[in-house]
Subunit: 205 residues, 2 copies
DNA sequence: CTATTAACTTAACAGTGTCAACAATTGGTC
DNA sequence: GACCAATTGTTGACACTGTTAAGTTAATAG
């Protein structure tokens, strides 16, 4: 068997370099500034070189999105560390998610908005990053349920979906001021969390 | 004063023709197929002609988005007509919104996803279309509250925001299979509606 | 009929993603 | 050390894109 010119770790390192350059461009000048030409200029290589490491721009953005999901997961993990009660952990987690999204709205938009087709060729890395992020939420919900602080109306996975959907809906409508919010985020965010918790506590009809 | 070559209604008519062509392209081949060149080809005019009616592509897409908001508003209005109880109207309205979004996911994605900057130069037409659509929801929530079917925990406008955020979050995560949904839409959708209603009915803590 | 003016066309610019052909460099084998 | 294969990087090109400027056509007002 013939050895590769670059060892596997070296390839991974170059990928990370390219992603770093792409991320810098993105954070500085937004999604429209992310182009193979500009990335190449930053890395002092030709505009076609990154194609050896990413088959398409979609693939590159997908890798960037996976990074963003790991970032927001970390934000949630950090948030739940400081509180004790599971239901309070859930509150902090949801709040941390929404705060992070509004803190770096462009990054959050990248996670969900600028998408061509995600069904075809789903990146395992991205799927795993999403799964891990949701996992944080699911575990806290399950803990709250086990502690008797949430009724058994719905299973933990479904309940965590509801929280995720509620939080995502709120911040994604807020992010680009895409909606005429008659109410401010600071009042709506705890309202959403409390309403969902109250709804999950309520006995089934 | 000098008369215009086109009367005001004629200008509006031409705008609609351009939007019709753009919409056909969009519905057939997606957002990437919407370009001034392709629109012009469909209208048998030069690729620069539409610039007389839309200052930029963003403005054209904004007009298309306003159309989409009026469309989903109509879907909600149609849905609430068939039920009587306000709380049931609310259920039907939310369900109609989500069903419409999943029925034409690309159109729904256009409404929220493909956006450059919405803050600068906010189109009055789009703002009004959004306001009108939310108004449908707000009125039904207010009616439910007045009928005593919802507690007074939060005001109707805030409550309608919660419904909108919940519904939007659910379908927008579902639309591009952007999330690893461990639970199907058919189970999550009524779950979200019921949980929010139950949460709003619950007494304040 | 003429002059004005709006509607339209053409050409061009500065970008973009993507791919094919070519050069350079590297690493293992004899 | 020399050779060879494979991989990495470069250049050029294609087919697009949004957008603007200059020039053209056509219709209308006086």
């Amino acid at each position: 068997m013939v050895r590769l010119a670059m060892t596997q770790p070296q390839v991974e390192l170059r990928r990370e370099e390219i992603l770093d350059a792409a991320l810098e461009l993105f954070e500085r000048d937004g999604i429209e500034a992310v182009s193979f030409r500009r990335i190449a200029a930053r890395l002092d290589c030709s505009y076609s070189a990154p194609y050896r490491y990413f088959a398409s721009k979609h693939e590159l953005l997908t890798a960037l999105r996976a990074r963003a999901f790991r970032w927001i997961e970390q934000r949630m993990v950090d948030a739940i560390g400081v509180s004790s009660s599971p239901i309070e952990q859930l509150r902090m987690l949801a709040r941390a998610y929404m705060d992070a999204a509004l803190e770096l709205p462009d990054r959050y938009a990248l996670m969900f908005f600028d998408i061509g087709d995600d069904d075809l060729d789903p990146s395992p890395e991205l799927v795993e990053a999403k799964r891990a992020a949701l996992g944080v939420c699911t575990r806290v919900v399950a803990a709250a349920e086990k502690a008797g602080q949430l009724s058994l109306r719905v299973d933990p996975l479904s309940a965590s979906h509801l929280f995720w959907c509620g939080a995502h809906g709120l911040v994604s409508l807020q992010v680009g001021s895409q909606f005429v919010m008659g109410r401010a985020y600071e009042t709506l965010a705890p309202m959403m969390i409390d309403t969902l918790i109250a709804g999950l506590k309520a006995p089934p009809p």
